[in-house]
């Protein structure tokens, strides 16, 4: 591991200032929350930020008070601090009851040990798990100029939104948050800003080096999830290559507002298949105002993958994703 300086921040402002100070001094910075993935990246000499390379300075966020809370605002908005652990999210009764997809997504992440230290912000902003990136290849995500998966081993890579990089976004929380309409609270050298799910994540064709809008001294300090409308139910279905401790081959976060057996509106966001949480509006539209039957669910699944463009070795993800969507929609409609 390369030598680094640790700076403990006691407030968000101080964290931003420390990061900015280091950046201006020409030193690369990484924010540390749970640190479970950051430590591994550092041990493997993998850049925690493509442009910045390996960190010279770690700004430790764990000492910042108040960022580890899950609160319900007056209007029913769920305010989740960036330092909330995945275990805390899994164990929160309100989240489980009203924002079910989020609890279910958190539950599928890694292992209990990692969920005990891993944070919401860290999970949402984690670097890709593409085997080229993680093995030290000089790809876009490491600050290089190409994607090795394109003509190589792309079994686990994107079937939507790829090019020039074909990574898949590794977060399980992200699809659930986007499906639930979450807004991302970002603190930076400018004033704090709130970014919608659609704007927070960045496609490679917009910027191949990064996965989200966070700039060098930006901290994801929390996520706000609006109060669900009456009749809302949600679910997250993740398919993995083993029963635990790996990322999604394909996943679906589905939110449906039900009125009896009629779906008023739906949002469907896919994980593990695109460089960002991948929303499928055509599939969502099929559900609006309809009774959810097995046949409709099948059509929704088919619509969800209509735009898929698989690579040489990941065509299996297309039928897999179709079935995941179909089953999740059907199961959710049947859920009391």
């Amino acid at each position: 591991m390369r030598a680094f300086v640790n700076r403990n921040a006691r407030s968000v402002e101080e964290a931003v200032a420390l990061a900015r100070e280091a950046t201006l001094a020409g030193r690369s910075v990484a924010f540390a929350a749970g640190g479970s993935d950051l430590l591994q990246l550092m041990k493997d000499h993998i850049p925690s930020r493509a442009e910045a390379g390996e960190p010279d300075v770690l700004v430790n966020l764990k000492g910042i008070a108040g960022l580890d809370r899950i609160e319900s605002a007056g209007d029913g908005t769920l305010r989740i601090g960036g330092l909330v652990t995945l275990s805390a999210l899994v164990g929160n009764a309100l989240v489980r009851e009203r924002f079910t997809a989020l609890a279910e997504a958190a539950e599928t992440v890694a292992t209990p040990q990692i969920r005990n230290v891993g944070t919401v912000a860290g999970n949402v902003a984690q670097r890709p798990w593409c085997w080229y990136f993680r093995n030290g290849f000089p790809c876009f995500k490491a600050g290089g100029d190409r994607c090795f998966s394109a003509g190589g081993e792309n079994q686990l890579h994107a079937i939507f939104g790829g090019g020039p990089s074909y990574i898949v976004h590794p977060s399980d929380l992200a699809p659930a948050l986007v499906a639930l309409g979450a807004r991302f609270r970002v603190a930076g050298p400018e004033r704090e800003r709130v970014v919608s799910g659609g704007d927070f994540f960045v496609l490679p064709r917009q910027d191949a080096l990064r996965e989200n809008v966070l700039a060098d001294a930006d901290v994801l300090i929390g996520v706000d999830v609006p109060a669900p409308a009456a009749g809302t139910r949600s679910a997250y279905h993740k398919v993995m290559d083993r029963e635990a401790w790996t990322h999604a081959l394909a996943s679906a976060a589905v939110v449906m507002v039900m009125d009896g057996d009629v779906c008023r509106s739906a949002s469907i966001v896919l994980g593990g298949v695109a460089p960002i949480p991948w929303r499928v509006p055509e599939a969502e539209a099929l559900l609006a105002g309809e009774r959810v039957t097995a046949e409709l669910a099948r059509e929704v699944g088919t619509a969800a993958v209509a735009g898929a463009r698989p690579l040489a070795k990941n065509a299996y993800k297309v039928p897999l994703t179709r079935r995941v969507v179909e089953r999740t929609v059907l199961a959710l409609a049947a859920r009391a």
């Binding site: 190589g152 790996t246 299996y316 079935r323």
Partner: protein, 723 residues
């Protein structure tokens, strides 16, 4: 299928045969057990190894000046500074522990090779005052490489014009330096095929699977004058001592190998390894103890795993379903150095007299292949048992009936010390309720979740052989047993104490075991080949008998007196084959829409002679079955064909199964005593992994109607086959 007969009863014993926790369980679970990386010596240094980033490259120059200038660096070694033969590593012709083969081999391996022939091979090593300095120094070494053409695929490696990894070509040399395949002919294969009503053909492939033991390798070396003291996790202190002594130009007595506790081996820690030599060399250079530690990734790429295979099978069958001929043409991927034969087992489980086997051990620029729990078996059984399963359906027979018709049985020419393959199959079929779980028509279920069942059966070596033990009793009636065993997991230390207590007729608590130190313990065969219980255990029996004779003649020692007995038996089975037997039955659900496989029932029946300690014996079978399931469904080491880089080293990349993936495994032992080994004990540790890949693949076929020819049967492969 007729009902099974009840197994022969064996007489129960006092200490042996009962569930006994490990005698060192408390040390292990309280963290008091000392593993190699826990040993601290005054003034010790820490070493890191620089490895090759290229699959095949000539080293033109190595510049260590910047590294040497780093404060805290004590020694740097490379192929330029030290030419040390890594003799046991070459294991000429795949023959382990053969000095003669090592002396003549043309494919000599060194501590540092030039050219380097796979990614992860050692290039240089640094000893420094702490780990950070050592790691920093490694990154300051500049190596100029001339990249050479490389080859990853076994078939391409044998094709004309392939990059040559050795001047003699890419077909591995045997123990006589001959580039020849192994195998051979039995009976009259041509006549067998001519007599066949139908001939079946198929191609099967199996993947590299790393041994993946929890403890990555390490070695701590220090010198007392001309004597090397080496703490290293090894599956055999005696062989490790001899190998290291030979490579370093020392006499055996000049090397002391110590391994008390280790975090698993599965074959990855047979004998010595190059980092033992690196630790010894750095320690000599620096004049201080040196600890070499490999990271998980370095261990994954720098040690070895099970050899991958490409296998073409042809089987002839008569109209009544009798197998008349078997032909196997196989390529085994050995990486650039031959650590083991590359052989394949499985066909011997059939009685068919006409067999033609040709197995090519092939060099590639992938990771080295070597021993992994039953080295030749699971990847050998998977093809033949898959094909026989196919044939059973094709000739309209229940696969169990087909097996009972065609499996090997004792003959006048080939005699066994005992035989229980049929017993294993019949017992398993009954325990599993094969008749109701197996579907006579594959893919019989209508919905997306389809159930099916599969089975496989085997026989495996349980040979006897030489080993030694020393036993002492003192005036207080305490017994001390000296055995050169280590404990890679099955509990050898406990087993040796149990055997001694049983034979002596004393409580287990009266026996203390001295183990894991080549200076204090006599020769033992090593914890490979499932031999320790049988061979060293039998030496313990003989030593105990000797001690009992002495006590009978001279009485128990009094005061400061002691009696000492020893034994170095070299028993034989008088020309009979000594084998263990087994049959595994699997039921599973396959969700054909999601490609999800869930094992719903697993029954493993084994005849491994008398079971000396049922507790660890059952766990050995279960652990081995799980490894086999991982091999069947998950593990691989993918390379990028364009640049020869490995992509899936480590537990994450290779998708090793987790506890949540592990099904319940029912283990049943058929106990026998054939009169050999300690109280009739046979092989346990390796036996359990042999059948799970083939049984799982056969169950997938029964559930889905898909014959999966390639391991691992990943979700993506299943979904592609279903598409």
């Amino acid at each position: 299928m007729s009902p099974r007969q009840s197994p022969p009863q064996i007489a129960p014993l006092n200490t042996v045969g009962h569930n006994v926790p490990r005698i060192d369980a408390l040390e292990r679970v309280t963290g008091r057990a000392t593993y190699t990386r826990d040993v601290r010596l005054p003034g010790m240094l820490y070493a890191r190894v620089l490895t090759s980033p290229h699959p095949h490259a000539r080293i033109l120059s190595i510049d260590v000046s910047q590294a040497r200038a780093l404060p805290g660096v004590r020694a740097i070694i490379t192929h330029e500074t030290h030419e040390v033969v890594y003799g046991s590593g070459s294991i000429a012709g795949g023959v382990q522990y053969s000095d003669a083969a090592k002396d003549i081999t043309l494919h000599r391996r060194y501590m540092f090779d030039n050219p380097v022939r796979n990614v992860g091979e050692p290039v240089a090593a640094v000893a420094a005052v702490d780990r950070h300095v050592a790691e920093e120094a490694i990154r300051l070494i500049t190596v100029e490489y001339e990249e050479l053409p490389f080859v990853l695929d076994v078939e391409e490696a044998l094709a004309p014009g392939a990059p040559q990894i050795w001047p003699e070509g890419n077909l591995a040399l045997n123990g006589r330096n001959e580039a020849r395949p192994s195998g051979g002919r039995q009976g009259d294969p041509e006549a067998g095929f001519a007599a066949a009503a139908r001939v079946f053909e198929g191609r099967y492939t199996t993947a590299f699977a790393q041994d993946a033991q929890l403890e990555p390798r390490s070695a701590l070396a220090h010198w007392e004058g001309d004597k090397l003291i080496l703490h290293t996790p090894t599956q055999g202190i005696s062989n490790c001592r001899h190998d290291n002594a030979k490579d370093l130009g020392l006499e055996d007595h000049q090397v002391q190998v110590i391994c008390h506790y280790m975090g698993g081996g599965f074959g990855d820690k047979n004998g010595s390894y190059y980092f033992d030599l690196i630790a010894a060399t750095l320690s000599k250079e620096a004049g201080a103890p040196v600890l070499v530690e490999l990271s998980r990734k370095e261990d994954w790429l720098g040690t070895h795993g099970r050899w991958s295979t490409v296998q073409d099978l042809r089987v002839g069958v008569a109209a009544d379903g009798t197998v008349t001929a078997i032909e196997l043409r196989a390529l085994s991927g050995m990486g650039p150095y031959l650590r083991r034969s590359g052989g394949l087992s499985g066909i011997d489980a059939y009685a068919c007299p006409n067999v033609d086997r040709t197995i090519y051990p092939v060099h590639t620029n992938r990771a080295v292949a070597g021993n992994f729990r039953a080295p030749s078996e699971p990847q050998g059984y998977f093809p033949i048992q898959s094909m026989m399963d196919d044939i059973a359906y094709a000739v309209g027979q229940d696969p169990v009936d087909f097996a009972l018709r065609n499996m090997r049985r004792p003959t006048e020419q080939v005699r066994f010390t005992n035989y229980s393959m049929e017993e294993c199959i019949r017992t398993g079929a009954e325990l599993f309720d094969w008749g109701s779980r197996w579907r006579s028509t594959p893919a019989a279920d209508a919905g997306p979740v389809k159930r099916g069942a599969g089975f496989s059966f085997m026989m495996f070596r349980s040979g006897v052989g030489p080993s030694s033990a020393i036993l002492r009793v003192d005036g207080e009636g305490l017994y001390t047993l000296y055995v050169g065993v280590t404990d890679i997991g099955p509990g050898a230390k406990t087993t040796m104490a149990l055997i001694a207590a049983e034979e002596l007729g004393v409580p287990l608590g009266r026996v203390e075991v001295v183990w894991g130190d080549s200076d204090r313990c006599p020769y033992s065969v090593g914890e490979s080949g499932s031999r320790t219980t049988i061979m060293t255990g039998y030496a313990v029996v003989e030593a105990a008998r000797d001690l009992k004779r002495q006590i009978a003649e001279r009485g128990m020692p009094a005061g400061d007196g002691v009696l000492i007995a020893s034994a170095t038996p070299n028993p034989s089975t008088e020309g009979k084959q000594r084998l263990c037997f087994g049959a595994h039955f699997v039921e599973m659900e396959v969700d054909v829409e999601l490609g999800h496989v869930r094992i719903t029932k697993y029954v493993a029946v084994h005849e491994s002679g008398r079971i000396l300690n049922p507790l660890p014996a059952r766990d050995q079978i279960r652990g081995a079955v799980l490894q086999g399931i991982g091999m069947a469904l998950h593990e691989d080491l993918l390379y990028d064909a364009r640049n020869g880089q490995p992509l899936t080293a480590g537990y994450y990349g290779a998708r090793h199964i987790t506890h949540l993936d592990a099904p319940q495994i029912e283990v049943a032992f058929i106990e026998t005593d054939d009169g050999y080994g300690p109280f009739g004990a046979k092989t346990v540790g390796e036996a359990g992994i042999i059948l799970s890949p083939s049984a799982v693949a056969n169950a997938i076929y029964n559930a889905t109607g898909l014959r999966m020819h390639d391991l691992p049967i990943t979700r993506s492969r299943l979904l592609e086959a279903l598409a």
